[in-house]
Amino acid sequence: METSKLTEEKIKRYLTEGKRFDGRKPNEFREISIETGVSKNAEGSARVKIGKTEVIVGVKMDVSEPYPDSPDKGNLMVTAELLPLSSPKFENGPPRFPAIELGRVIDRGIRESKFIEFEKLCIKKGEKVWTVFIDIYSINDDGNLFDAASLGALVALKNARIPKYNEKEERVLFGELTEKRIPLSKEIPLSLTVYKIGNNLLVDPTKEEEETSESRITIASSNGTIFSMQKGGLKELEIEEFYNMLNLIEKTEREILKKIEKYLK
């Protein structure tokens, strides 16, 4: 059963006092726990838990021809699957809009920030380049899959190692990893989402809070530079509100980066 109107009213009213059901402040995240190397056949992988929300992200790599308009650059492909096992809301079948949006938002954050140095993923110009595949799976949805997915993708990328490539036979030796990491820039394009409930803003909503919210903005940024942005939801935003959301994201970004520093070495 979805969150009742009664509970939604309460959530809104409580927020006007700056309070949330689980005692958090509006700019506070639930406990974040991150594990790396959770799937051995992946070139890199991570499990991220934010409160009860859990996602697993895997990085795979393969060699293929480059796109004609970027003959010396590697490629990126990000997909997300909202597994039916993770929530009664998700059905079996081809990806529907929420999964498609999640994949595309995470993709843009990583792509536009030039986090992956694609020129360094070129093996032979015009002929052979590496493609990085990032696959995101939800394991339990208790709100805020966007941010969990972003953390998972970044950590999995950081921890991934490039597999051996046999140039003569022109094939990847899957299962045999080199010591080389995926070439990444120093700036971490952390993606964070701010949600609007009534006239209040918060980060890291639980499922109940997410169902009560009317709008959200997801921003991938680093040190005050914004790489990608997406507004979702039906309600409109005042410009003041929008600026407040940007501020909230900037503040939260610093705190979250501190928490996850050790996984991004």
Partner: protein
């Protein structure tokens, strides 16, 4: 069964006791010379009757149950209510104690409203509901929470002892639906959230004895923190 394993955890297919003079109660079947469980839960014995108390699983509606639901749809003669069962549940106009104008059903209860209802019949078509009776009808204010319906007896306690304890300690009115939906109404949100936390605490534990003392201790700890 000895006194110690009067209540032991059993899984489906497990032999609970062996012996000709035991009787198979709820959640069990007779198999050969023994009683076998077909549920995952706590097996208990009462005068040679063996039954298994399930600790998980969906709500099994029963006639007479008072449950909490959400209005899903309004038809020309009543309300379709979601009480968290796969079967459809319907509250007809005739089961509302006051006069309702056929064109004003949504004024009594609108889509999305939470209601306390009683199950008066279960048949192939679905579940029949009524709000004739004290305490039944639309819910105003308060918050709604959900626990597994199998834990409801634990929240109520022996002769209502557990629910009374929670009400006293939190100063809240609480209605526990047999389907696991619970309404909490207090004079402020902090009290309501404390009651919600207490109920979550109880429903996540499965032992039956000594729970009341644990809960009293828990409330003390919470109050000391303030």
């Amino acid at each position: 069964m000895t006194e110690e394993n009067k209540r032991k955890i059993v899984i489906p297919g497990e032999v609970i006791v062996k012996g000709e003079d035991y009787l198979p109660g709820e959640g069990t079947q007779k198999k050969g010379k023994g009683i076998v469980s077909f549920r995952f839960g706590l097996a208990e014995e009462l005068n040679k009757l063996i039954r298994v108390i399930p600790l998980s699983g969906v709500y099994q509606p029963r006639r007479g149950n008072v449950v909490i639901g959400k209005v899903e749809n309004i038809t020309f003669n009543g309300w379709v209510i979601d009480i968290d069962t796969p079967q459809n549940a319907f509250l007809p106009l005739t089961e509302v104690p006051k006069y309702v104008n056929k064109s004003n059903l949504e004024e009594v209860m609108d889509i999305g409203d939470m209601v306390i209802v009683k199950i008066i019949g279960i048949n192939k078509r679905g579940i029949d509901l009524s709000i004739r009776g004290r305490g039944l009808g639309r819910l105003e204010e308060g918050i709604i929470m959900k626990i597994n319906s199998n834990k409801v007896p634990r929240i109520i306690g022996k002769e209502g002892s557990m629910i009374s304890l929670i009400k006293e300690e939190t100063n809240c009115r609480i209605t526990v639906g047999q389907n696991g939906l619970i309404w909490i109404g207090g004079s402020n949100i902090e009290d309501e959230l404390l009651a919600k936390e207490a109920i979550s605490f109880i429903s996540e534990r499965s032992f039956v004895s000594g729970l009341t003392d644990e809960v009293k201790k828990w409330f003390k700890q919470k109050k000391n923190k303030k």
